[in-house]
Amino acid sequence: MFTKLFGKLLITVMLVSLLIPAVVLAEDIIPKTDPGGSATGTAIDVPAAKIGEPTMGELANAVGHNRVAINMVWVLITGFLVMFMQAGFAMVETGMTRAKNVAHTMAMNFMIYPLGMLGFYVCGFALMFGGMGAIGTMGGFAGLNQEFTINLFGKSFGLFGTKGFFLTGVYDVAVFALFLFQMVFMDTTATIPTGSMAERWKYASFFIYGIFVGTIIYPVYGNWVWGGGWLSQLGRNFALGHGHVDFAGSSVVHLTGGVIAFIGAWILGPRIGKYNRDGSPNAIPGHNIPMAIIGTFILAFGWFGFNPGSTLAGTDLRISVVAVNTMLASATGAVMSTLWMWFVRGKKPDPSMMCNGMLAGLVAITAPCAFVNSASACIIGLISGVLVVEAAFFVERKLKIDDPVGAIAVHGCNGAWGCLALGLFADGTYGDGWNGVAGTVRGLFYGDASQLFAQCVGVISNIAYVGLLSFVVFKLIDKMVGNRADARAELDGLDVPEMGVPGYVGVKLDKAAETPLSR
C-alpha cells in the first residue's frame, strides 16, 4: 500500500517538475538563445585581439587551425572506429570455431590489442614512420625526419625509420594523432593470424608473437609503402607509376596479416581430426554463427574508419567516394560469395562464406577505394567474392593447410587482389602528386601499365619479406616455448588447460561431437 502511494507521488513530482519550465520560466529570461543553430559561430568566435573584428592575419590563422582541427578530429574518430574492429575480429573468429576453445580464441583476440600496441609504442612506430617527413594534413610538423637508407644503382632505398622510439622527440599533437590511427591499423594485421591458427596455438607462443608483430614484422613493410620507404619511391626512382600505392592497407595491413596467417597455420599443422589419411578434409563446424555474423557487421562498420580515415583529412572530400566504394565492394563481395557457394560450389548459401565474402570485398577495396569509380568498386568486390571461396578451397583441399576461419583466403588472397586491382582500375581522378610523382594515379585500363607493375612489386616483396620474417619468428618461438598446444589439451578444448577456465561456465558441451574422427 505504502509503495503504491509512494510510486504515485514520484510520478506526480516528475510530471510537475517537467512542466515548470513550460509554465513558469519564460524563454526571454535567458539572454539570446539560438535554438535554430544558424546564429552560433560568428566573427566573435574567431580568436582576435579585438573581439569581433579579426585582422586578415588572425582570420587566416583561424581558418588554418580549423582545417587542421577538422582533419585531426577525423583521424581520431576514424581511428576509434578501427579500434572497434578488434571486437569484430574476436567475434568472427570465435563464432567460427568450437565452443570448447572460446576463452582461448577470445583471449588471443583480446590480448593482441595491448601487446601489439606496446610493441608499436616501443619501436614499431619509429621504424614505420620515423622518416615519413611532414604530416601535411595535420599541421606540417616535420620531426619525423630520420630514415635509414641504402644506395643501390645510384638510387637511395629507404628501409626503415629511426625516430620516435617510445614517442620521444616527437611530442607533437599531429604525431600523436598519427600514432593512434596507425596503431589500430597495425593491430588489425596482428589479429588476423589468430584466426588461421586458432584452436591449437599455444598461448605462450601467441604472446611472444604478439610482441614481434607490432615491433618489427608489420612496421618495416609499412615503412616501405607508407613511411617513405623504397616501395613508395618506385615511381620517382624507376618511373613505375606512383610507386606502390596502397590507400588504406590491402597490402600493408591485410596481405601482411594473411601471409603471417599462412605461415603460422602451415607451421602449426592442421587441427586434430581435420584431415583423413587420404588427405581429404573433414568439416569442423563453428559453434556460433550469429556471433560470426555480428562480428562481420562490426568489421564492416569499422571499415568506414579504415578506408575513409586513410585520407588523414576530413577536409579531403574524396572521403565520400571512398566510403561509397567501400560499401559497394562489401555488398558485391557478399552477394557473389553467397551465390558462388549456393549454385556453383555447393548447394546452400553458406553463412560463414557470406561473412568471408563481405570481408573479402572490404579487403580488396581497401587499396583502391580512393582511386576507382563505383562500377570498378563493384567489379573488384564481385571478383573478390569468387576468389575468397576458391582460395579457401585451394588452401584447405590442395595445400592441406587448416585455416578455421578463412583468414588466408580473406586477407591474404584478397589483399593481393586489392593491390593489383588498383593497378588495373585506378581511373585518374585522384592522387595528384601521390608519392611525389606528378599527375593522378592511373591503372592499366586507364593508360598506365607501369602502375600495375609497381603494384606487383609491392605484393611480391610483401610475400617475400613477411613470409620469410614470420617463418623465422615462428621457428624461433618454437625453440623457446613450442608453438603447438598439447594434443590432449586440444581434444579437451584449450580453455581449461591453457587459460584455466572454460569460456562457457556451467554449460554442458558435446566435446566428442566437436572433433571429427580422422579415418
Binding site: P281, N282, A283, I284, P285, G286, M341, R345, G346, K347, K348, D350, S352, M353, V389, A392, F393, E396, G406, A513, P516
Partner: protein, 112 residues
C-alpha cells in the same frame, strides 16, 4: 497397465501434448535424448564440406495408462507426432506389473 514409450521429433512435443490433453491422461515424462535409426544420422554442411551428424536430437515421451486407454493414447500420439517424413520416430508398448503411490502406499491401476 501399459507403459507407452514414444520416441518423437522434439518439435512435435507441444502438438502431442495438446492431443493427449484432449483424450485425457494422468501424467507423463519427457526426456531429451540423442540417437539414430536406420538412416544413421543426417548430413550437414560447413564451408562447403559435408559432414555427418551421427546422433540426432529426439524427445522420449513416457506415459503409463490403464489397459483400456492404451489404444486411444497411442492413436493420438501417432496422429499428432506424424509429419510423414523419415525420422518421425517409434512407439514401444510395455506391460507394467504394478504401480505404487509413494505418499499413500496405494497399489494398482487406481494409482494412475
Amino acid at each position: 497397465m501399459k507403459k507407452i514409450e514414444a520416441i518423437i521429433r522434439p518439435e512435435r512435443i507441444t502438438f502431442v501434448r495438446e492431443a493427449l490433453e484432449k483424450v485425457g491422461y494422468s501424467g507423463l515424462m519427457i526426456t531429451e535424448i540423442q540417437g539414430h535409426g536406420k538412416q544413421k544420422g543426417a548430413t550437414q554442411q560447413w564451408r562447403g564440406e559435408k559432414y555427418k551428424v551421427e546422433f540426432l536430437p529426439k524427445t522420449k515421451l513416457e506415459i503409463v495408462v490403464k489397459d483400456s486407454e492404451a489404444e486411444k493414447i497411442i492413436k493420438s500420439i501417432v496422429e499428432a507426432g506424424r509429419t510423414g517424413d523419415i525420422g518421425d520416430g517409434k512407439i514401444f508398448v510395455y506391460n507394467i506389473e504394478d504401480a505404487i503411490r509413494i505418499r499413500t502406499n496405494e497399489r494398482g491401476e487406481s494409482v494412475l
